[in-house]
């Protein structure tokens, strides 16, 4: 049977077919749906959300060492977080097969950088596969499991946004029950004290040699002969683009196994074509290795390394073709940046934050990143998950040492706090910086599409579980000044900020209100009730001062000609933030 699947769905199906028993991840676009889909196979696979990627990889490593096939998935920056266990697990090797899926995001569709994680395979000296469509993504999970067990290596499966989120036809198969391998204590392999590490270092080099031989013969690296004037070496979705653009006017060496590269096979292919192109997204990962091996090729001299590739970019770069375009009229387009949703609980608090002077706001990653956009403009920095609290500490320490008036407020989401904000806050409490850290607890992992987290009361596979108590954690870390507020209540938010900023010690404000798009659990319904009614503006009373517009709610609009604000009732959920800022009480709630 054939199904139309995204690459992420196909990897989930592949994991099930390959007999995976344990899978773990921390969400992150474009990887999130891999675990969400694996979670559906409740009877056969234990699937879990971890608080962060390091934990996800370590749990999968544990399952593997004990003898089960396991998988961890993450977005590319997640691999940075998981890099520590990755490099040493690469030394100890596996028992049951283990695959790490890294979802890269060329073009930064939803990421803070554009790193090329193929270098991780070379750096950690582990095998790597790169599918170019959904069928391959599914099939390669099984092949990668076999490679992992045969060569005693974790395998990196490197995919990109277009592989993750494009659908193509996939042949569905049955599950292969591989069972669990026996576990036998082997300290010379799994206990990486220096003496073991030195021995494993040698084993790793031998493994790379054996994998290089495998790379020369595996069908994952295949040649498609057509016209020999041009030869193209390509991997991942880059192959599909090149194949589209050149058709049968070129021959292809399609690489599905990309660490180690099949250098001899490539050299042989190169010797039979007149010109050799390398088509790869982002960095010259393949090209550099060909250059080092003395194989002449053209890659990044023509194909851009910045941004995502598309067929037209390749046609232009390698064929010099300029594709005729219908020109757009820029005067008839206005930008459409993402906005905090109508009723988003982050809005009210950011509105109050944006009014405070002499403040540096260290931000973090999540929906609340949008608090930095117009018209709220309440953010100075954002580099990576968890950094808000620790960067804020660095700023405040220097500011205080120099007697500068700058005060810091760090803002971080609930999921991000669990991910890596807790260690940052421990640093703040331990080293006593006079910062205000705000944990914006919207009771869910919002930005990536509503995943459960340790604070929500449910696991990935829907089991009710213990709820991590944020105020208790904060207190245990060593913070005494803690306030929990309703962020939709502007007065309460304002007062909490004023209180925290007046203190001579580190403080934490927890804003507690669920994401407006969250499906409320029974506990949510009890604590927060339901949204009923909408807000309405009495246009006779409206003086056109735009105070409500400054909250940046997409349900509010301003009619320039009439100089009046109005509310789109289909979007409004009645959160009443705008109502609280109106100086003439023109806004009221109806239908409550």
């Amino acid at each position: 049977m054939k199904k139309l699947l995204t690459g992420n769905e196909a990897i989930a199906q592949g994991a099930w077919e390959a007999g995976v028993m344990y899978a773990c991840a921390y969400p992150g676009t474009p990887s999130t749906e891999i675990l969400e889909n694996i979670a559906e196979f409740k009877a056969d696979i234990i699937a879990e959300w971890a608080p962060n990627e390091k934990v996800a990889l370590e749990t999968a490593a544990g399952a593997s060492v004990f003898g089960a096939r396991s998988l961890a998935a993450m977005k590319m920056v997640g691999v940075n977080v998981a890099a520590d266990p990755l490099f040493s697990f690469a030394y100890s090797g596996v028992n049951g097969g283990m695959v790490l899926v890294s979802a890269d995001d060329p073009g930064c569709h939803s990421s803070q950088d554009e790193q090329d994680n193929r270098y991780y395979a070379k750096f950690a000296k582990i095998a790597m596969v790169e599918p170019s469509d959904s069928q391959e993504a599914k099939d390669m999970v099984r092949v990668a499991m076999e490679i992992s067990e045969d060569y005693d290596t974790p395998v990196l499966m490197r995919i990109t946004t277009r592989i993750c989120h494009s659908k193509s036809l996939v042949e569905i198969g049955p599950r292969q029950e591989v069972g669990k391998r026996p576990y036998v204590r082997d300290v010379n392999k799994y206990d990486l004290v220096p003496a073991t590490a030195r021995k494993r270092r040698v084993a790793v080099e031998k493994r790379v040699e054996r994998l290089a031989e495998f790379s020369e013969t595996t069908e994952l690296n295949s040649i498609e002969w057509h016209d020999k004037k041009i030869g193209i070496v390509a991997s991942g979705v880059g192959y599909q683009y090149a194949r589209e653009v050149f058709g049968e006017a070129a021959s292809y060496l399609k690489l599905g196994f990309t660490y180690p590269l099949p250098i001899n096979k490539i050299r042989d292919f190169a010797s039979q074509v007149e010109t050799l192109y390398v088509v790869e997204e982002l960095e010259p990962y393949i090209e550099e290795q060909l250059q080092a091996a003395g194989i002449a090729c053209i890659g990044k001299a023509k194909v851009p390394k910045i941004g995502e590739l598309t067929p037209d970019i390749i046609a232009k770069a390698l064929k010099g073709e300029t594709i005729p375009l219908v020109e757009s009229d820029p005067s008839q387009v206005v930008a459409r940046p993402p906005l905090l949703c109508a009723g988003c609980p982050h809005r009210g608090f950011f509105y109050e934050l944006s009014k405070i002077k002499n403040l540096m706001i260290t931000g973090d990653i999540g929906c609340y990143s949008l608090g930095g956009n117009e018209p709220l403009n309440a953010k100075d920095t954002c580099i990576c998950m968890g950094a808000s609290v620790s960067m804020g500490h660095g700023v405040q320490k220097i500011s205080d040492r120099l007697g500068d008036a700058t005060k810091v407020v760090a803002v971080i989401g609930d999921s991000t706090f669990f991910h890596s904000g807790m260690t940052s806050l421990l640093h703040v409490a331990y080293n006593r910086s006079n910062t205000v850290s705000v944990i914006m607890d919207n009771r869910i992992t919002g930005m990536t599409g509503h995943q459960e987290n340790p604070g929500t009361g449910f696991t990935l596979q829907g089991m009710p579980t213990k709820i991590a108590d944020i105020p208790a954690i904060v207190k245990a870390l060593g913070i005494d000044a803690i306030r929990v507020v309703n962020p939709l209540d502007l007065k309460e938010s304002r007062e909490a900020l004023a209180w925290a900023l007046s203190l001579d010690e580190p403080s934490v404000i927890i804003t507690r209100w669920p994401c407006v798009l969250k499906k409320h659990s029974d506990a949510d319904k009890q604590e927060f009730g339901n949204y009923i009614g909408t807000c309405r503006i009495d246009s006779a009373k409206c003086i056109g001062c735009k105070m409500c517009i400054k909250t940046g709610c997409p349900a509010l609009r301003f009619d320039k000609a009439a100089k009046k604000a109005s509310i789109d009732a289909t979007q409004c959920v009645g959160c009443k933030v705008c109502l609280q800022v109106c100086p003439v009480k023109a806004i009221s709630k109806v239908g409550e």
Partner: protein
């Protein structure tokens, strides 16, 4: 590849482009075509610009449509048609919904919604304007607007021989099926004129 056709649907997060893309792909697949469909998730839920790309033919390689490659551009929101115009193949068709969703800068009064979108599109390509919002309202549920546009797309690409109604039935809630089918047929009819 000359036999491969490329369909680009654009709109604003929440307008239902993804469902339309899904029904389209399933129908094409059932009709025996190789199909690839692509969409970018991410910030879409937060009211950003979204695209859904479907390519079909005997054998499809690229899952995405390059600039200047779409046979048809179906815009669920009119300003989005202009934003994505460069992806249209010269000589390709535009089906545009006469429907405005103001973006952030417009909401806060920093810019105005552009006034000449439809006129300008008409000077650039074979453009059909449809009142999908109005049609959906008349049918009885404004949310069926995406099926109206989908119907127009099917007619615009001459795909009416394919049984999309079965796919619609498989992808919408049973209680909304009747209205959705009506919307789909109204969309086809809107382009027949």
């Amino acid at each position: 590849m000359s036999d491969v056709k490329s369909i680009l649907m654009v709109g604003v997060g929440g307008q239902g482009t993804i469902l339309a893309g899904k029904i389209l792909s399933m129908g094409l697949m059932a009709a025996g075509y190789d199909v690839k469909m692509s969409e970018v998730h991410g910030m879409a839920q937060r009211g950003g610009s979204v695209s859904n790309q479907v390519r079909f033919g005997k054998k499809v390689y690229s899952p995405i449509i390059g600039k200047g490659q779409a046979d048809i551009l179906v815009a669920f929101e009119m300003m989005e048609a202009m934003r994505w115009l460069e992806y249209l193949k010269p000589g390709g068709k535009i089906v545009v919904n006469d429907f405005r969703i103001p973006s952030g800068p417009i909401l806060i009064g920093a810019c105005d919604y552009p006034e000449q979108v439809l006129e300008s599109l008409k000077t650039k390509a074979d453009t059909t304007v449809i009142q999908a919002g109005e049609i959906a309202k008349q049918i009885g549920n404004p949310r069926t607007m995406n099926l109206v546009l989908f119907g127009a797309l099917v007619k615009g690409m001459n795909l009416t021989d394919i049984d999309f109604e079965t796919e619609i039935a498989a992808n919408v809630k049973p209680e909304t099926l009747k209205l959705n089918l009506e919307a789909f047929r109204a969309g086809i009819a809107a382009l027949e004129k």
